[in-house]
Symmetry: C2
Subunit: 343 residues, 2 copies
Amino acid sequence: VTLVRRPVGAPVPEDFALGDVGLEDPGRGQVRVRVRSLSLDPYVRSLLGSGHLAEAALPLGSVVPGRSVAEVVDPGDSAHPPGSLVLAETGWRSDAVVDSAALRPVVVPAGLPPSVALGALGMPGLTAYAAHVRHLRPRPGDTVVVSAATGGVGSVSGALARRAGARAVAIVGSREKAEVATARLGYDAAVVRTDPRWLDALDEACPDRIHGYAHLADQATLDGVMERLAAGARVSLVGVIDQNNGAPATRLRVGAVMVARATVHGMVVHDHLDLTDDHVREVSDLLGEGVLELLEDTHVGLARAPEAFSRLLLGRNVGKVVVHVHPESSRSTEHPSQPRSST
Amino acid sequence: VTLVRRPVGAPVPEDFALGDVGLEDPGRGQVRVRVRSLSLDPYVRSLLGSGHLAEAALPLGSVVPGRSVAEVVDPGDSAHPPGSLVLAETGWRSDAVVDSAALRPVVVPAGLPPSVALGALGMPGLTAYAAHVRHLRPRPGDTVVVSAATGGVGSVSGALARRAGARAVAIVGSREKAEVATARLGYDAAVVRTDPRWLDALDEACPDRIHGYAHLADQATLDGVMERLAAGARVSLVGVIDQNNGAPATRLRVGAVMVARATVHGMVVHDHLDLTDDHVREVSDLLGEGVLELLEDTHVGLARAPEAFSRLLLGRNVGKVVVHVHPESSRSTEHPSQPRSST
């Protein structure tokens, strides 16, 4: 799948094209893989426009970047066994040739599908874990609020906060997601931010104000939470959806930070890779104990990636968005513990 | 001095009145004092309008609040000796009756005037010290930028950063203040924010970008600095002058915090009173060694307080603003090591 037009606002399927871009033979230090499960992530939106962090914008005609669980087809001179599963930066492709040095074997606990390595046990889960231990640091009795609480990051955050003895409050975009957050993700309460009286609902859900906040939503959500911070509150700025969709840059009222003596952190997950082992162990435990359910928004076939990505940017996903590229990879990850909200 | 009209924007002398409000006899646990040096502080502006932090707005007709170095005239049943100097919340008065429990003796190093207890060794100095050790935490080789660098807080910040091995860069409102910052306050460089090419000057002054920033200025200054943060930068939000003068609330671009993986702290000095001993010792050393000069913007006579306060809010002061209430208290603090920018 290539980018054929720069999205204006939220991406639409017409911004992308599906086609054959060819596949070179693996060179020295390269491996040929078949993509099984492709991860769709919000940060990719910035690459399609003006760039993400220090990375430049993606040239038109290029394959859209993305991370996958892939199966080694031709290991070349590498030690990866044929048929083994690896994490690879394949982009939105069915087959890819990638540098073997950048591959990591996929190791997931028994009973979980390999695609969990893209979500709760992958970068989104590590993002949630790092925000929890490095930024929000909840103490027993604290109230932790998470926006986009049923998304890839948020779906992991609530159970971590609750395990730390905090009250976990979800902010979500629909009543359906509110039900998912409290019934399946360990949140104590959920507030629907599209409800006209949502600020009253937030007050009711947070009677002791807000001690920790993970932000992955829009300006109005940020403003509402910032006015309700407890003294000494911690805020982790994980993602801004406004900017992805071309809205004005999200801004934070300085006075609210000062009055709350708050600490506000910018989250870039690559700074926290040292937490990977702790993250995988603790989140595996939460999944194994059923405190946290694995929540994936799955789609089948690479052709579905653009539409699934559009839904992700519009906040219509429930859980980590994964595209099972080949029909057989969809079947291979079928698992009774895996709720689906696939469309 | 009482408030007779709520200021619109920057306060003007006509918002205040000088008059005799009477003086009760000291009751049980009270002390009568004669005010020698009155501190004028920016936070008082919010009390005149909508309130400061959790404190309500000042009713019209009330004496304007403020802290002083005062001399005990009638100690009542307290242990404060007559003639001794105390720190007291007297308000803008020539004489006051105050609760003895709230008084602290003024102890300043030899060779320094008592009014230093209102500035470099008082709350503004503690604010600078707490921002330095708790928020900015500069490492050798870091670049620390301070706005309002010749004000009560900023005049102490530069020498602290430099002593920690950092490059200290001042942002100031005039060429005169730039000269003061580098010649007398220990700053390595100074940038005049009213210069149309000030952002180029900031780039030149900060070739390795900005690792620490103490904010006490306006929206444009904040925006300029935030776009130049180094990875892992620390920002201390100490004061916002826009809001004091009725401008729109200062806001911080969330994307800039995220790209820099910055940590942004809200500063309320009352959270850091535990640092008082360390602060007084370290800043006394800097003053004693001449690394830092004492910089006061002094005025004589209580009638001058409104005009001096207006100048403070407009950023026209150089150094800590102090009103010597009685002419003799002005003379009594005259000292060769004390530079004056009195008008």
